[in-house]
Amino acid sequence: MSMALSVEGLKVYYNTEKGAVRAVDDVSFDLARGESLAVVGESGSGKSTLGLSLIRALPKNATVVSGRVFIDGEETLSLSLQDFRRRYSWKVISMVFQGAMNSLNPVLKVGDQVAEPLIYSGSADKDEARRRAMDIIEMVGLPREFYHRYPHELSGGMRQRVAIAMSLVMNPKILILDEPTSALDVTIQAQIMNLVKDLMERLGLSVIFITHDLALASDIADRIMVMYGGQIMELGSIERVIGEAPKHPYTEKLLASIPRLRSEGIPEFIPGRPPDLSSPPPGCRFHPRCPYAFDKCKSEEPPLFNVGGGHLSKCWLHGE
């Protein structure tokens, strides 16, 4: 059976005054049906750009330099944008954008905003669209009457539920969530996480969960993909990467930097700062901050080594 989504050798560069910024630089991975994959990285790691490129919503100054994206086995980057939007956007793959809860139109009822894709695409008339929007509003845990509310009448958590409802109204199979809880209080975050888990089960969604928070990632993901400087550093099942131990020094140090509530030990930090992607360091991009770096790391870029059980790690410590 084909994967829900397959990405092969994707490179996305931004054109800037300083030259090309290699935001996503040769990224390949699969997303199985019904699977949840967490994409974890710090700001500037390329995780949001990756998400946007999958739904063909990159900003104007970004270019897909190379690579292929298969959805349900069909290559989608070569489709015309019009074709992609008609056949895939919202219907097959959709995204809850970062900060979506603050991007709702303030002068439109939230229900009309949820119903909009249905009407725009011609897949439902007004009454039908309204009914379906109410259904989906109810499914994300809000009362049906909230259809008639305006964004300013809702709290942050409620607006985030509306943003999730908008992404689901056309029954997509694949959902990308970009930092869906980063602006919310931890108690509301826990509510939204429970909701996402419910929706995944109920709708059989395949999910890409983009976050900077390794703890949150392990709360939801089957597999975890750790990005740094536009590249995958480590990819593996959550049991192997978090449950046992990370194989890549970056993941190891990132995990060690998380303050723990329920275990001893003092969090560490990673000295230095993320690389400038207009002129990334030679060799391994993490080598300037890596405590284990040796000569080879400074000159040769390591491949993604298979360290067993489909667990990948891009580090020379694993061999030649």
Partner: protein, 333 residues
Amino acid sequence: MREVIRLESVKKYYEVRSGLLGSKTLKALDGVTLSVGMRETVSVVGESGCGKSTLGRVSIRLLDVTSGRVLFKGVDISKMKEEELREQSFRKKMQIIFQDPYSSLNPFMRLGEIVAEPLEIHGYGKEEIRESVSRALEDVKLVPPEEFVNRYPHELSGGQRQRVNIARALVLGPEYIVADEPVSMIDASSRAEILLLLKSIRDQRGMGVLYITHDIATARYVSERIAVMYLGEIAETGLTTSVLKTPIHPYTILLLNSVPEPDPNNRRRRRLVIKGEPPSPLNPPSGCKFHTRCPIAMERCRAERPVLREYLPGHFAACHRAEEIISGAVSVA
């Protein structure tokens, strides 16, 4: 331990216009008592709107209190005039570090100028300024200082900018610092660096620190004591180890339950969450303010406001059912 700051029954009310002619009272702080000792860090934890930032600002007289007292080393500064605050050096002795390291530094000023500014305002001489700036930059590990003084904020990472903010707060030699969410906008890999730095500077200089955060997990590493706030009141306070190990107040218990940990066993498990959202502080619930979301609220909780009482050594909670919770007779989570 000597106290550097003590808040006594502090209230901070705002009149908020509502409707055409009416106005309502927003009780941002509704009777808060809290102290911070020398060489001590106290964390104030709570969700947005709970009053924690107001508390920090009131404690250094960036805001005036509506009632209650603010004592700096025993001297009531809550009603002191601005000139007096300056003349008696209270303004130098109390400093604040803000949340956002991106908007709190003037982009057109060099780091040296930014850190020197407070000293210039307080009329220090050139040589003294140069030395203090240098020492402050060294304290926050922006070394060598000669190299950093000529840089501009945009050349720095978020973590480095926040260290500039800390340096600026340090140059006047404060005895009390409010750190208002100092790491919430910084990348995860650098957070621990800032927190550990704050701790070591506190120890070196013997300051008191009020650490305001929404992230209770970080509070564990930096503070000796914790105060958990809900809708302008302290729900629970005590030694950090005691509060985290044996939380009493249902709000604290559920708040701790909401914090994710990197553990694959949590995957797909539903968390027990606090239902709904905090009520509006314009129209807070009667009795215990948490009763509308509390899973074990009783009739009494709706009618009678609980007071903070010491249930475990140095560990206070404001809950009518505290004894039952501690004995295990009722369970919240």
